[in-house]
């Protein structure tokens, strides 16, 4: 009787242990399979904003190398950057933050500042590690040498940059206007328009919800690529003389007006929008057009025309003149049109 009781007790304990062990393994394996949470973006506002006393306008300048690279971030306000004929950076902020310069790199040739960061506080006055580095104010004006490279990141700013060497600008929100940029442009805004004029060099222009307008642009070196992409907006290109172009809009029309260069490669595409090319009648190009629910028509007759059978998505190829440039047009739902300029 005692032995039976012992066995029963032993059986109960073993069963309990086995059961709990099994459950533990199950729970651990279930939680081990759970994927880790992706890192969440940090809150925007981290630094402490240093405001000028009585909101007096702030102004400051620094001597720099002619090919200086200046970086800055803007919290809010209209930003205007202009090239001037001095090897000096001058910054002015009204109704907003202080100004400071942090030299990141010196030129080996003349020991002048070759890499400079513009700050929203004066390093000499404020030794505050937690101060906001971004400039903010009603109007922010910066003058830089004409050959300077300008890097701007901004949260909410209308940005205008003129007569400088190279520009790289990223806005969370706000329009971008660029004029007379010599060696290339990278411009991206998530809410706003991008306008580029009288500029040369490689260009990468992006807008999420906005239009892109480019006029009188050209390449500065062989191999320069022109890219323009918007998700929700139109792209208008006038007299853009680049040999490699990638132009795309998700929901919006593309209008190209100008000449295609010999040996150039041009790609235009939309998901839901028309593509119109206004080109000279004596153009020389090979055309390849693919369209889903759209139509194709041309004012300039195409030679060697090959057209697929009418079906849901059609493909068409042809040639104008000798066929020196290569043009690809793709649209899912939109009209493709070639007009005489």
């Amino acid at each position: 009787m005692k032995r039976t009781k012992k066995i029963t007790k032993f059986g109960k304990t073993t069963s309990l242990l086995l059961f709990v062990g099994f459950l533990c393994i199950s729970v651990v394996s279930v939680f081990a399979q759970k994927p880790p949470k992706p890192p969440q973006p940090k809150d925007w506002k981290v630094g402490r904003k240093i405001i000028n006393e009585n909101l007096i306008p702030a102004e400051k300048s620094i001597a720099v190398d002619a090919n200086v690279n200046i970086s800055l971030c803007v919290e809010s306000g209209n930003l205007k950057i202009n090239g001037w004929q001095r090897d000096e950076i001058r910054a002015f902020v009204s109704q907003g933050s202080q100004i400071g310069f942090k030299v990141l790199q010196k030129s080996k040739q003349n020991n002048e500042s070759a890499g400079v960061m513009a700050l929203g506080f004066d390093l000499a006055k404020t030794a505050d590690a937690g101060a906001d580095e971004c400039l903010s104010g009603d109007e922010i004006q910066i003058d830089v040498p004409p050959n300077a490279t300008v890097n701007v990141k901004s949260r909410d700013s209308e940005t205008t940059i003129e007569s400088v060497g190279k520009v790289r600008v990223e806005n969370v929100g706000g329009d971008i206007f660029l004029n007379n940029i010599a060696r290339g442009v990278e411009a991206k805004t998530f809410e706003g328009d991008v306008t580029v004029g009288n500029s040369s060099g490689a260009m990468d222009l992006q807008s999420t919800t906005g239009n892109i307008v480019v006029f009188d642009a050209a390449s500065s070196e062989i191999g320069d690529i022109f890219k323009a992409k918007t998700n929700n907006g139109a792209i208008i290109l006038k007299d853009v003389e680049q040999r490699q172009m990638e132009v795309g809009s998700n929901s919006g029309a593309i209008n190209f007006s100008g000449a295609f260069l010999n040996g150039g490669q041009y790609n235009f595409g939309t998901s839901n929008g028309s593509i119109t090319l206004a080109i000279p009648q004596n153009s020389s190009l090979k055309l390849n057009a693919s369209y889903g629910y759209g139509a194709f028509n041309t004012d300039i007759p195409l030679e060697n025309l090959i057209k697929s059978m009418p079906q849901k998505a059609q493909n068409l190829s042809g040639q104008i003149g000798k066929g020196d440039a290569s043009i690809n047009l793709t649209t899912y739902s939109g009209a493709l049109r070639i007009k005489k300029q």
Binding site: L16, L18, F19, L23, S26, N231, G248, G269, S308, A313
Partner: protein, 320 residues
């Protein structure tokens, strides 16, 4: 919400494209200005997207039966509603009270052992049935081929087996033996059946023979992948989009304002529509170059669209 706000029925009809152009225009204008309606639209779109994603995955595989599709959808919905940890917790709580009863404890332990034993048996049977499926499908094509590199002593045996796996041997040259060896579980299953079927043959099998048999098991998978791809590199587009979608879905609520979110969802719908229709067209007519071109372009557009949200997140994070 204002007097002009639309009800969920109207929003759903808007999403389904059942309204007239004028009404669509009115609703678009209103939603661009009205946050509450935009949120309503987003919710409706998310529900639709969830259902359509589940459906699309199932429909893309013509071999899957309809009842399995429904079961999968129901399972997805069920798992969404009830987290696993909750079920485990409830089970554990119930268990605590039940352990006072010795009989139940003993019975539960017995059940676990039986369950484990059964699952091992089922797993083994599954491996066997996999091969059986391959065998059956290959018989339908009825081709045969001889492997030139086999050991002469066992060649006869392999050739006979090859008759039952014609499609496998037909494209064996496209496979690297190293790749097939990596799949150890498949190899084990094949080998087990093969040896079982050839009990009276020589028991010593060279590694070369083994690798040849592996080819047979691997090949049907390769064929399926090639058939399912409409355009070259489609799989990588799909993978990229899936990865980006996962990232974007976890962040878009924080990054996009309601109006921007509306524009994003609208653009996404346009691209998705283009992908679905062009995919169907390419599947119907694989020689349609126009459809292929538009499909590639649409994939690229979708990637760019998803990327724009990721890039915005990065820019916002860098502006601290």
């Amino acid at each position: 919400m204002t007097e002009k706000c639309f009800d969920i029925g109207m929003i759903q009809a808007f999403l389904d494209g059942e309204l007239s152009a004028q009404t669509v225009d009115n609703i678009s204008h209103h939603i661009a200005l009205c946050d509450s309606c935009a949120m309503l639209l987003i919710e409706a779109e998310e529900e639709s997207a969830f259902a359509f994603t589940a459906l699309e995955q199932e429909f893309s595989n013509p071999l899957v039966p309809t009842h399995r599709l429904w079961a999968k959808i129901n399972d997805s919905i069920e798992s969404e509603r009830k987290p696993i940890w909750q079920s485990v917790f409830i089970f554990f709580v119930n268990l605590k009270s039940n352990f006072s009863n010795q009989t139940i404890t003993a019975f539960a332990s017995l059940l676990i052992f039986i369950g484990l034993f059964t699952s091992i048996l089922i797993l083994r049977n599954d491996n066997g049935s996999n091969l059986a499926t391959v065998n059956t499908t290959s018989k339908q094509t009825g081709q045969s081929a001889v492997s030139p590199v086999l050991n002469p002593e066992t060649r006869g045996t392999i050739v006979n087996k090859a008759e039952t796996y014609p499609s496998a041997i037909k494209i064996k040259n496209n496979l690297k033996p190293d790749d097939s060896r990596n799949n150890k579980s498949d190899f084990r299953a094949i080998k087990a059946v093969y040896v079982g079927g050839e009990n009276n043959q020589s028991s010593s099998k060279t590694s070369l023979e083994s690798s040849k048999i592996e080819f047979r098991k691997q090949t049907p998978k390769v064929e399926t992948r090639a058939e399912s791809e409409n355009i070259a590199g489609e799989e990588s587009y799909v993978k990229t989009i899936a990865a980006l979608t996962e990232t974007v879905n976890s962040r878009k609520d924080e990054v996009l304002k309601p109006s921007a979110r509306f524009a994003f969802e609208k653009d996404l719908a346009v691209v998705d529509d283009a992908i679905t229709k062009m995919k169907a067209e390419v599947k119907k007519n694989p020689k349609n170059e126009g459809a292929k071109q538009v499909l590639i372009s649409s994939y690229q557009n979708k990637i760019d669209l998803l990327n724009s949200v990721t890039e915005k997140t990065e820019l916002m994070a860098s502006l601290k």
